[in-house]
Symmetry: C2
Subunit: 222 residues, 2 copies
DNA sequence: GACCGGATCATACGGAGGTTTAGTCAGCCT
DNA sequence: AGGCTGACTAAACCTCCGTATGATCCGGTC
């Protein structure tokens, strides 16, 4: 579907990566060879700690986690990732997991939960789905971060005016609201459109929606 | 938080309902009395079929389902509900469930999965969360359905113009696009604003976003 | 002090948005 | 045939948007 690599044998920042965290080295090795056999890059770690040391590249990826890890349990590790604001789809695997554990993991956002022994194909299916999901969320995040970058170039006044403009107020109402002359609001408005790269007001409104911009407090007067 | 009943002893369309489907009548009865003890309305059924006969009221509710049901399994039933476009949060319970079953149920959108025997409090917590979730999704659905009602009052031409307006095109561009005079577009536009109850263009844009309105085919020319 | 960017405002002009009034035309229902 | 609605258009008119030109004021930097 998506256009892939142009230089076939040159693995780089473009290709997805599978991260494996398991304290059993034989598991790490067999998973690594499984993924490599279908052309996926793999990074394996013996502990959660080691994984966290690693700088995560900005490519579609997923994390295979044994739920029973020596120091930090898989579930706690998942919570740590969420707390540290690390967004990566997690696939759990377990030998002796129970249902409450499964439910907790799934509620916390795990994409799958495989019981050992599992079929290679099941793992590959899970990884494929997880990477696809990550690809999408990274694409969205990319768009959002570009928007935030543009928004950051606005001055405080411009940000304030943008919120009011996208609320639907007229220039003259905005002027009254914040005690300015209408012409000044128009100037700010022009700057906003240029800096944000909006080609029309609807454009700007959609950007504001994505940025979750609203008037700081209270609703606009009827 | 939310303002509840004004007439305390008069259970009616305002109160949440818990639906219980289990083939074991003693389970039905004990769950019923549990929920009633905390003031929740309950409707219990011995089979999926019976539940489907029942007309579902438009109030916050949830469904407690045993995963092992005689004719139709809980999982299949869940799939049936989705296929029939019945939106209700499902809480599974099971005596002898396994992990793959749990994963499948959670992936299909179950809000919780309790193993028998469970503590009353766990069930109540799950039900409370499920009902709260349903309340929110019903509120959103209500807003959306009101919007669709308004949108339905638009003539085909008006719908077409609305799509182009919210895309960000100017009246004259819209006119050229669909072969009309600019003045005609303005007229349609006025009708649209009135019929949709939009107080401003940003308002209309947000409605279009919710209605997922886009140009029928292709992107707007640069 | 000189310089610069943010913020402010005035005047003026052209273009876009929006309403009212008024009229034509085609299709549909009774 | 008569009545109705949707769709379309024109002319006139007003408001609002947007930009350009030119200018003042302030706070911080070199």
């Amino acid at each position: 579907m998506t256009g892939r690599r142009t230089s076939p044998s040159l693995a780089s920042a473009e290709d997805p990566i599978v991260f494996v965290v398991d304290d059993d080295s034989s598991v790490r090795e067999s998973l690594s060879s499984l993924f490599r056999s279908v052309g996926l890059r793999v990074e394996a770690f013996g502990s959660a700690h080691e994984f966290l040391q690693c700088k995560l590249p900005n490519v579609p990826s997923c994390l295979i986690l044994d739920i029973r890890l020596p120091r930090l349990s898989g579930l706690d590790f998942q919570a740590e990732l969420a707390k540290a604001d690390i967004q990566i789809p997690v696939i759990f695997m377990t030998g002796h997991g129970d249902i409450p554990m499964t439910v907790r993991a799934m509620k916390a956002g795990a994409v799958d939960f495989l019981t050992k022994p599992f079929r290679d194909q099941d793992m590959l299916d899970a990884v494929t789905a997880a990477i696809e999901r990550d690809r999408n969320s990274r694409d969205e995040a990319k768009v959002l971060s570009n928007l935030h970058e543009l928004f950051a170039t606005l001055t405080p006044r411009e940000r304030q005016v943008m919120a009011l403009v996208t609320t639907g107020l007229m220039n003259k109402q905005i002027a009254a609201e914040i005690g300015l002359a209408e012409i000044t609001v128009k100037i700010h408005r022009g700057h906003i459109m240029r800096k944000m790269g909006a080609k029309s007001l609807p454009d700007l409104v959609r950007m504001a929606e994505l940025l979750e911009i609203g008037p700081p407090s209270g609703q606009p007067q009827t």
